[in-house]
């Protein structure tokens, strides 16, 4: 591995690191130890392609990512300045050829990320030793490749990746209601059967002396009661679906119930583990980047920038914050919203009193000099993810000020067109895009569909239909894992439809 040897930082970078770390601490940022490494662009691209880690299992998609990053850089179209990973200690990679101004900015930015990783509630469940974990995953998969061959393992990984987003990102933080009973019912199925017989005999008996027993507990009545009980038990069994309530973590369901070989089981669980590790980063993109940008801008503008740096700094910062009509820039949205919150809480522009005020002029001048802003944004970074962040703090004033709009796809013109500048619609659209990372919600509804061991998924339809060709291909991949026909219930052309794949052909029929 090219970067296994740790190289000490150049003295001037180490000095910058010490300086930035001190500023960050003085502002109350709280982070794990952060280890910086200087790498060249090839190494940085490699680490970025590997999702932040120096060692990953062999797979072509990392190569594809690397190819794209290298081409973008070679032709001067894009550049990554740094890479931080959520581990303890935090590892951060700096691009060696960054100018000194960039290095300062980037180091300050990194400390923002580190603080966020450590303190944001959504990261609480992540494995902070992921560096080792990833290397272990790589070693395990390499071993399977040695044993089984490159192509079968790669093909299987592809199938797993096709469904890797079918996880339950919230399960890390809460206990789903169905989990407990499901486990219990499994247990009772396994070791409860033998006891049932004995219990049955005793149930419904009255205490009696031996010679009176046939009269007090007449055998035919006992038998009848016992049959009745069994019938009820059977009814209950029949009415119960499997899983009992729709299960969001499709991967877990497959892991627990599909007839996978040992190595396949392990590969799938590796893919699932990694998906869970990356989930919080997807959930907090706006906040995480906004938070880091807020701190690099605060630290740099108040302490870091010298006269010589100022142009470079402004250039770089504004480049990072650039907006475009088609895509919200998470850096920009995040930092502006945080600044907005800080200002509102500094001035006391919140709560019922402010909300009830009808006088626009009054509202604009509203300033109670509470100075709660900083405290508030620290609270925000602790408890929110992107979805709740936008839901709680996006205001009509903010949307107006930043000229936000929602856009929608126009079927007839094949163009995306500006749909609205109404606050409610913008917010709704934004929340839709953020919920589940913009991916459809999919549940396991029945693992024994039609009593034939087929897997039945349900797409929770909320206005956007599935991309059909992809849905078919994904079913195909899922069938590889499940080894029995798979179905998904969704909506096609406004009609409820079931798409199925039985191992050789697809079928689509209205529900």
């Amino acid at each position: 591995m090219a970067i296994s040897t740790h190289r000490p930082l150049p003295a001037e970078i180490a000095a910058v690191q010490d300086e930035m770390e001190e500023h960050a601490r003085n502002y109350g940022l709280d982070f794990f130890d952060t280890i910086f490494e200087m790498v060249d662009y090839e190494e940085l691209s490699m680490i970025a392609a590997f999702g932040g880690f120096p060692t990953r299992y062999p797979h072509w998609r990392f190569g594809a990512q690397y190819d794209e990053l290298m081409k973008g850089y070679t032709y001067g179209l894009q550049k990554i300045y740094e890479m931080v990973i959520n581990t303890d200690p935090c590892y951060a990679y700096l691009l060696r050829c960054n100018s000194m101004t960039d290095q300062k900015l980037v180091i300050a930015h990194v400390y923002g990320h580190c603080d966020f990783f450590k303190n944001n509630a959504w990261f609480a469940g992540t494995n902070r030793k992921m560096l080792d974990q990833m290397a272990n995953h790589a070693a395990r998969i390499n071993r399977y490749i040695d044993r089984i061959g490159y192509e079968p393992v790669e093909t299987f990984i592809d199938a797993c990746l096709s469904v890797e987003d079918l996880i339950d990102p919230h399960s890390v933080h809460i206990r789903r209601a169905h989990q407990a009973p499901m486990q219990r019912s499994e247990n009772s199925n396994r070791n409860g059967d033998d006891q049932n017989g004995e219990q049955d005999d005793r149930q419904g008996r009255f205490p009696s002396k031996g010679y009176m027993d046939p009269f007090i507990n007449p055998p035919d009545v006992l038998k009848m009661q016992s049959e009745e009980r069994q019938r009820k038990h059977q009814e209950l069994e029949d009415s119960r679906s499997f899983p009992e309530t729709p299960q969001r973590d499709v991967l877990l369901f497959v892991l627990e119930n599909a007839p996978l070989k040992g190595w396949q089981h392990d590969v799938l669980s590796i893919v699932r583990d990694e998906a869970y590790y990356y989930a919080p980063q997807g959930q907090t993109k706006i906040m995480n980047e906004g938070w880091a940008s807020y701190w690099h801008s605060t630290i740099m503008t108040r302490h870091g920038v010298t006269d010589a740096d100022v142009i470079d700094y402004a250039d770089h910062h504004s480049g990072t914050m650039a907006t475009s009509p088609q895509r919200l820039n998470p850096y920009k949205l995040g930092i502006e919203l945080l600044k907005d919150i800080e200002e509102r809480w500094n001035k006391g522009q919140f709560g019922p009193e402010y909300d009830d005020c009808d006088d626009l002029h009054e509202k604009e001048k509203w300033d109670k000099e509470l100075g709660l802003g900083r405290e508030k944004i620290f609270e925000v970074r602790r408890i929110h993810n992107d979805l709740t962040f936008i839901d709680t703090f996006l205001t009509p004033e903010f949307c107006h000020k930043h000229r936000m709009f929602s856009f929608a796809y126009n079927d007839s013109s094949n163009y995306y067109e500006i749909a609205s500048r109404e606050f409610a619609e913008i917010k709704q659209q934004l929340l839709n895009n953020l919920a589940n990372h913009g991916r459809p919600f999919i549940y396991v509804k029945d693992g024994n569909y039609a009593n034939r061991g087929e897997l039945y998924l349900e797409h929770q339809y909320n206005g956007t239909e599935l991309k059909l060709d992809y849905a078919r291909d994904t079913l195909q991949n899922l069938e590889k894992l499940w080894s029995r026909p798979v179905h998904i219930e969704t909506v096609v052309d406004d009609k409820p439809t079931i798409i199925s794949f039985d191992g050789s052909s697809h079928e689509m029929k209205p529900k």
Binding site: E68, R147, S324, P325, Y409, Y416, A419, I426
Partner: protein
């Protein structure tokens, strides 16, 4: 040591080229980045492979953006069906030049396009010699190659790590995972042993257009042979009534006048073969381009040199005849008389530039 990303990258490129995992082909997206080189826009192809997920379709989709604009104003084009990533917004019009194709890739494309078979070199099993060296360790292998010391060490390591090692009773039992085997790496030693001899008629009847055809065809043949052999030696011979060996530059740019005596070129070529490329060690390719105009009496001596000296020693003898406004085009008819007896003799008539394609296919389609 090779970085693991390089393996992933080459694997990815193989998939994109359709060499392996053909079933992924339909997921390949042909994205591009638009770069700028001086004044010109260049398109940088960025292929990717999209793994299918359950995802939302376009219908009913949307997002949030920032900037000016009224309701209903289009801000970007939707994806055309099956067209991969759309890059709305910054598409430049005008000249888009493709960049980044190496000669090797060209050769591959040529091979894919023309369905050229890979060349089976004559005589030997392989041109570059392969040697297996037992200098590496693998996790799998036959028991006869088990590396006892490494296996033992690994087992010991595992036992110490899992705290099952007892120093009092130092018994180490290797499990299946501990086993290490001696293994080999195949070392390739390239050998430069393909020789190409180009012969061209530069007599007065060959026009510049015809030379252009020859040049293009020779370029592609060169590219392909270079791709197939690790080392290729090239020699050029031009002739009118007399022949001489020249360098590449001269070969393409000379224009002589005068009569034509093809046998003179054959004599020079024979000389080169005997002097420099003993046929036992070399894979010899001869390409001759002419307008087919030869001095009548010369034809019989041409055929005798060919059958006695050249054809028995060549992997391939190719004759390309370009259509000429002046030449009679008789020579190819002479050659057809003997071409049935010689499997390695290939004749082709090249009428115009468009025919180059077919001609290359004829020449190299036999895989020799």
């Amino acid at each position: 040591m090779a970085r693991s990303i390089d393996q992933d990258l080459s694997r990815f490129k193989q998939i994109v080229k359709g060499k392996v995992r053909g079933q992924l082909k339909k997921y390949i997206t042909h994205g591009e980045m638009i770069g700028r080189k001086g004044r010109e826009y260049v398109s940088i192809p960025v292929p990717n492979i999209e793994i299918p997920h359950f995802q939302h379709g376009q219908k009913g989709s949307g997002g949030v953006g920032q900037g000016e604009g009224d309701q209903g104003q289009p801000i970007g084009k939707g994806k055309d069906q099956g067209d991969g990533k759309g890059q709305a917004g910054n598409e430049p019009g005008g000249h888009v030049r493709e960049v980044e194709v190496t000669l090797d890739e060209l050769a591959e494309m040529l091979a894919d396009e023309l369905e050229l078979p890979r060349i089976v070199p004559k005589g030997r099993d392989s041109l570059s010699s392969h040697k297996d060296k037992y200098n590496t360790i693998s996790n799998t292998g036959p028991d006869s190659l088990r590396h006892f010391k490494r296996t033992y060490k690994r087992a010991l390591k595992r036992m110490i790590a899992s705290n099952t090692y007892n120093g009092e009773r130092p018994i180490v039992v290797p499990t299946r995972d501990d086993h290490q085997y001696r293994s080999w790496k195949t070392v390739t030693e390239p050998q430069a042993n393909a020789a190409v001899i180009y012969m061209m008629d530069v007599s007065g009847s060959m026009t510049d257009d015809q030379k252009e055809i020859v040049r293009i065809e020779a370029f592609w043949i060169d590219t392909w042979l270079h791709n197939q052999y690790d080392g290729v030696q090239t020699r050029y011979v031009i002739h009118d009534a007399a022949a001489k060996e020249v360098d590449e530059e001269t070969f393409y740019h000379t224009r002589e006048s005068g009569g034509t005596r093809i046998s003179s070129a054959y004599k020079v070529a024979t000389g080169i073969i005997q002097r420099e490329f003993p046929p036992a060690d070399w894979n010899i390719y001869c390409f001759q381009f002419s307008d087919g105009d030869n001095w009548g009496e010369d034809n019989s001596s041409c055929l005798s040199i060919l059958t006695d000296e050249i054809l028995p020693h060549c992997n391939l003898y190719c004759y390309g005849q370009v259509d000429s406004p002046y030449g009679s085009g008789d020579f190819i008819r002479e050659l057809r008389k003997i071409s049935d007896n010689w499997e390695n003799m290939i004749l082709s008539e090249i009428e115009n530039k468009a025919a180059i394609y077919e001609s290359i296919k004829t020449f190299l389609g036999k895989g020799k």
